[in-house]
């Protein structure tokens, strides 16, 4: 039996697996024992205790008496918020930089080149801190804020502008109009598909749009007292009320977008250069304009070589979002570090950070791989 190659192979596999399992459990018990010796408790019970610390700027509602796990979720939402915005902005800007780099206009290609070189050759932390310092180098103090429009001011404290506010009694009609609009947008899309396929567009969709618009108008009139404009006012040192965009959020968005767009621009340029010259010539022969050539021929073909490297750029954005705290924006990593400091559960906290980033990046990667499969050339 030992002479059987397949049998031996299985035995070796089992032995290797057992060895890895033994090593893992040894590492775990040794770590646990050492931690116990040093008086570091292990366990995730702390997640259900009140966090007792504040987070300055949040997307989700949060107060310091909420449990630690909710604080972590709030931190994660901050991280994902900036990551998603940066990925969208940097993709669009990166596309234009990539195309601009190939422009025959020396000013356009030169500027795009400067962008790429600065972004690629500067450490991101330096870029962020520099960006942040620019706020108070350029912008005036809050007392001398620049007025951009009535109620809208920009200063070292950020951008402050009027916000549309409504009380809870107006919630039902607002929700009705919102939900209807979403459903109708879906229906419009389906109708358009149908129009392309069959040539006839279902008439009832446009009628429904008209109905929702009229309903929105009536609600707006009926609830004009509860829907109000909240105009920021200057009180002592700050603008209070209204809607504001803080320098911290703006800096991390601009800085990270600038940085990532530089890399994406190069990927796009490479992708475009990889499109065969014959495709350009064919597009010209068909009489397509330069814009049409890009939109209909070159970019769809270039996407096939752009998407795989883009995947790692997007993952980098998520990872780089942990630098947000250097400019005072609290992200997931910062929130969990604070938790570690307050509860002394360092091992669990770091495990949570690693696990969550792994999960987010694997999900992002799976999404992009699925997209990549869709646009890949189907071999016939």
């Amino acid at each position: 039996m030992l002479q059987d190659v397949r049998f031996r192979a299985i035995i070796v596999q089992i032995a290797l697996l057992a060895g890895i399992a033994a090593l893992g459990s040894m590492l775990f018990t040794a770590t646990a024992r050492n931690l116990e010796l040093r008086g570091i408790p292990l366990g995730f019970g702390f997640l259900w205790r009140p966090a007792n610390f504040q987070i300055a700027e949040t997307i989700l509602p949060y107060s310091s008496s909420d449990p630690n796990w909710w604080a972590a979720v709030v931190g994660l939402s901050n991280s994902l918020f900036i990551s998603v915005l940066v990925i969208l902005l940097a993709s669009v800007i990166g596309l234009f930089i990539g195309i601009g780099r190939l422009s025959s206009n020396p000013l356009v290609s030169g500027l795009c080149r400067v962008w790429v070189e600065v972004a690629r050759n500067t450490p991101l932390v330096v870029l962020l801190i520099f960006n942040y310092a620019l706020w108070w180098e350029i912008l005036p103090l809050a007392t001398e804020a620049w007025k951009l429009a009535p109620g809208t001011h920009i200063s070292v404290r950020g951008l402050s502008m009027p916000a549309l506010g409504w009380s809870t009694s107006a919630f039902a009609p607002v929700a009705f109009v919102g939900v209807s609009a979403v459903i109708l947008a879906g229906a419009s899309y389906a109708a358009r598909r149908r129009q392309i396929e069959t040539g006839s567009r279902p008439a009832h969709v446009s009628a429904a749009w008209l109905f929702v618009a009229v309903a929105a108008g009536i609600f707006l009139f009926a609830y004009r007292d509860v829907i109000s404009l909240d105009i920021p006012e200057f009180r002592r040192a700050n603008f209070a009320g209204g809607w504001s965009l803080t320098p911290e959020l703006t800096t991390i968005l601009i800085g990270l977008t600038f940085y990532t767009a530089g890399f994406i621009g190069e990927i796009v340029r490479g992708g475009i250069l990889a499109v065969r010259k014959g495709q350009w010539e064919a597009a010209t022969a068909l009489g397509l304009s330069r814009g049409q050539t890009y939109r209909l021929v070159v970019v769809p073909l270039a996407l096939r070589s752009i998407v795989p490297p883009l995947n790692s750029q997007y993952i980098n954005v998520v990872k780089n979002s942990t630098l947000a705290i250097v400019v005072g924006y609290q992200d997931f990593m910062t929130v969990v570090s604070t938790m570690i400091n307050k509860t002394s559960h360092a091992i669990e906290g770091v495990a949570i950070i690693l696990g969550v980033f792994l999960a987010v990046n694997l999900a992002l990667s799976a999404l992009l791989n699925a997209y990549n499969r869709r646009i890949a050339i189907v071999e016939r």
Partner: protein
């Protein structure tokens, strides 16, 4: 197959080896390494900051140099690791630093994670504000924006207490280092910059373009015992750190300074003093140290009053008052433990 077994055995041996290495005492580890590894701040004037030549100076730095002077007989055998608020406790727990002397408030939660040894400063929270804002009482803070270091420091809690007890609301901007928070304040991003009282006094004295433009508001919301901390599990190291610090307090109580210590050692007839300064033998034996260890602390670092004056008090730009940080006879709470 054979390879797998060999591998497993090798790993097991390595792990057992690593386990016993971890059990080595801190004092032995420090002796082997040749210097004390001290946890310091990222740069707070008067407390711990490298000067223009790169030499670490400050009150917290001297507290750790006293340990080096006691243990090695040389206050220069100390190296400093800059740590932010969130890093400092894990750095002690993992043994990265032997002594944490970095404005760390002694709390119950922290004390069951690391080992606090001695309170070297008592401080409270303070907010630096522009004088033009005229903040005289806590209620005047309403609607202002405060820049501070996040990461779970007790100063953050002080702000919560101020808000609750005065029915006010302040906006916060958190940074991962107190230096960035300070720069954001000086840049105009915030109306106030919050930290510990001595740290605030140091930043105003050393960094502000014109110190007269800035006022310091102390709410008294918190009184913080800032203490030296070490990793758990080594009583001898605990004794060395505690009594190295006590040597400075004791010396002030006895009127012994770095200037007159030689003279007093030569002329003293008091039994405790003679033994403590190593004139009569025996003081070093229980700690397995040289008999001159207290003498070395006083001679090389100075007594508590000298160290305070040099870094925080009248001989420094901070000109901070001693308040709680004085001997009981001067109205403070520093108790010298007798070397008997």
């Amino acid at each position: 197959m054979k390879l797998a077994i060999q591998f497993a055995v090798a790993m097991a041996t390595a792990m057992i080896g690593a386990g016993s290495a971890n059990a080595q005492s801190i004092a032995d580890k420090v002796r082997e390494r040749g210097y004390v590894s001290c946890g310091a701040s990222q740069g707070v004037p008067g407390l711990s900051r490298p000067d223009d030549k790169g030499v670490w100076t400050g009150f917290d730095v001297d507290s750790c140099r006293a340990v080096a002077a006691a243990f090695f007989g040389d206050s220069q055998k100390a190296q400093f690791v800059p740590l932010n608020a969130a890093q400092r406790i894990p750095a002690v727990q993992t043994g990265e630093v032997d002594v944490l002397s970095r404005t760390t408030t002694w709390t119950y939660t922290r004390d069951v994670a690391v080992r606090f040894v001695a309170i070297n400063l008592v401080d409270g929270d303070a907010i630096m504000l522009r004088k033009a804002l005229n903040v005289a009482k806590a209620a005047d803070l309403d609607g202002l924006t405060i820049c501070l270091q996040g990461g779970g420091s007790l100063v953050e809690n002080a702000l919560d207490i101020i808000e609750q007890s005065n029915q006010v609301k302040v906006e916060r901007v958190y940074f991962d280092s107190t230096i960035l928070a300070r720069d954001a304040y000086f840049g105009g991003r915030c109306d106030g910059y919050m930290s510990d009282g001595f740290a605030i006094a140091g930043q105003r004295a050393a960094v502000a373009g014109n110190p007269d433009e800035h006022a310091i508001f102390q709410s008294g919301a918190t009184t913080e015992p800032l203490a030296l901390a070490i990793p758990r599990g080594d009583d001898r190291w605990f004794d060395i750190v505690r009594y190295a610090f006590n040597a400075m307090v004791w010396a002030e109580d006895r009127g012994i300074t770095s200037q007159n210590v030689d003279e007093i050692a030569a002329s003293s007839t008091d039994g405790e003093t003679r033994k403590a300064l190593g004139v009569d033998p025996g003081i070093g034996e229980p700690l397995k140290l040289d008999d001159k260890w207290i003498y070395n602390v006083i001679k090389q670092v100075g007594n508590y009053g000298e160290v305070f004056a040099r870094n925080l008090g009248e001989d420094s730009p901070l000109k901070a008052e001693r308040r709680f940080n004085a001997l009981p006879r001067d109205g403070g709470i520093l108790f010298p433990i007798p070397f008997k």
